[in-house]
């Protein structure tokens, strides 16, 4: 039981690191692209939000597993 909590905590931490890296890299490249081509800022922003949502979705899959571990009785 205690180990399940520990596993949930470590799992949440690792998945958050991965998602943070992913979204950070995405935002960096998107901002760079907007800086190079300000006239294309609109489509780049839309594509960025979609990609961010997909990365977030993967992080949430991991977090759901963590929650399932944490509420395991």
């Amino acid at each position: 039981m205690d180990l399940a909590w520990l596993g949930a905590g470590i799992g949440a931490a690792i998945s958050v690191i991965g998602a943070g890296l992913g979204i950070g890299k995405l935002a960096a490249s998107a901002l760079e692209a907007m800086g190079r081509q300000p006239e294309a800022a609109g489509p780049i922003r839309t594509a960025m939000i979609i990609a961010a949502a997909l990365i977030e979705g993967i992080a949430f899959f991991a977090l759901v597993i963590c929650i399932l571990l944490a509420v395991k009785t």
Binding site: T46, I50, A53, L54, G57, F60
Partner: protein, 278 residues
């Protein structure tokens, strides 16, 4: 001391045996009463039909509230176009949002034949937006932080996607189109499994995303308020109230973004099913 902290102190005292964090989930999860805590609770009726528990709960009540607000506001907007085509007041404001959803979200992601899906996507957009906003008002509950509600919304998107695809390509054509052309035969069993799983993971991610975003925001606000009672010090109050206010403002932004993303991804999935050629 404000009314909110009184609630927290009261419930914290009740649950002090279990580490004092029960009240957070208590506020987020569904219950059989409406919480107006310093003024008391309103208990809701409980009834069963054929052994099914169909009692009215907190989230059901606020689901009705959201639906009522939507019907009143949006039908008055629709009616005002019968009088004159020139929008005024509230209609003017909502027309901006509706045209934004139509031109920036639905049209680019679905393309040809987007008009058929526009009513559904607009309804979903406004429902998610209004329920996120109504959940931020004190004493209310966020309907979208209940996973059953978001799962239902994602289910609607799933059926819209499949039915749209089947109508456009025919039953067999649609499922054949899911497999990329020029695929080597030995890979076929694997690809079929992956593609069929992909059909279900897309709405699942949609459902979990909205649910987790709305729940997480409220948990963060309540945890920051709870810091006061963990530290048991009055000097923490400005810090935690300030941070809670900041997260609250962030939640307003998140509400809009989540409504945008839900509509955007729904229309992307529909667009992918309707136009399989790309």
């Amino acid at each position: 001391m404000s009314a909110d902290t009184l609630i927290v102190k009261d419930t914290l005292a009740q649950h002090s045996g279990s580490g004092g964090s029960d009240w957070i989930l208590h506020h987020i999860m569904d219950g059989d009463y409406l919480d107006f805590e310093p003024l008391g609770k309103v208990y809701l009726p409980h009834f069963e039909i054929f052994g099914l528990d169909l009692s009215i709960t907190k989230h059901v009540v606020f689901l009705w509230v959201v639906a009522l607000v939507l019907i009143v506001i949006l039908s008055s907007v629709a009616k005002s176009y019968r009088k004159s085509l020139i929008p005024k007041g509230l209609t003017n404001f909502l027309e901006i949002i509706i045209v934004f959803v139509k031109d920036e979200i639905v049209k680019p992601s679905i393309g040809n034949g987007y008009e058929k899906f526009l009513p559904y996507l607009l309804t979903v957009f406004f429902f998610v937006l209004f329920s996120n906003f109504i959940g931020l008002v004190p004493f209310t509950a966020t309907v979208t932080s209940n996973i059953a509600v978001t799962a239902t919304l994602a289910g609607f998107t799933f059926f819209a996607t499949q039915i749209g695809g089947i109508i456009n390509h025919g039953f067999f054509g649609y499922f054949k189109g899911l497999i990329p052309s020029g695929m080597p035969i030995p890979l076929l069993p694997l690809i079929i499994v992956v593609e069929i799983l992909g059909l279900f993971t897309k709405p699942f991610a949609l459902c979990i995303r909205l649910f987790a975003n709305m729940t997480a925001g409220h948990v963060v606000i309540l945890s920051l308020i709870g810091l006061i009672f963990i530290m048991k010090s009055i000097y923490v109050v400005p810090v935690s109230v300030g941070f809670a206010l900041f997260i609250y403002l962030l939640e307003i932004l998140v509400s809009v973004i989540q409504a945008y993303i839900f509509t955007m991804l729904s229309s992307l999935f529909i667009g992918m099913a309707v136009h399989q050629e790309h």
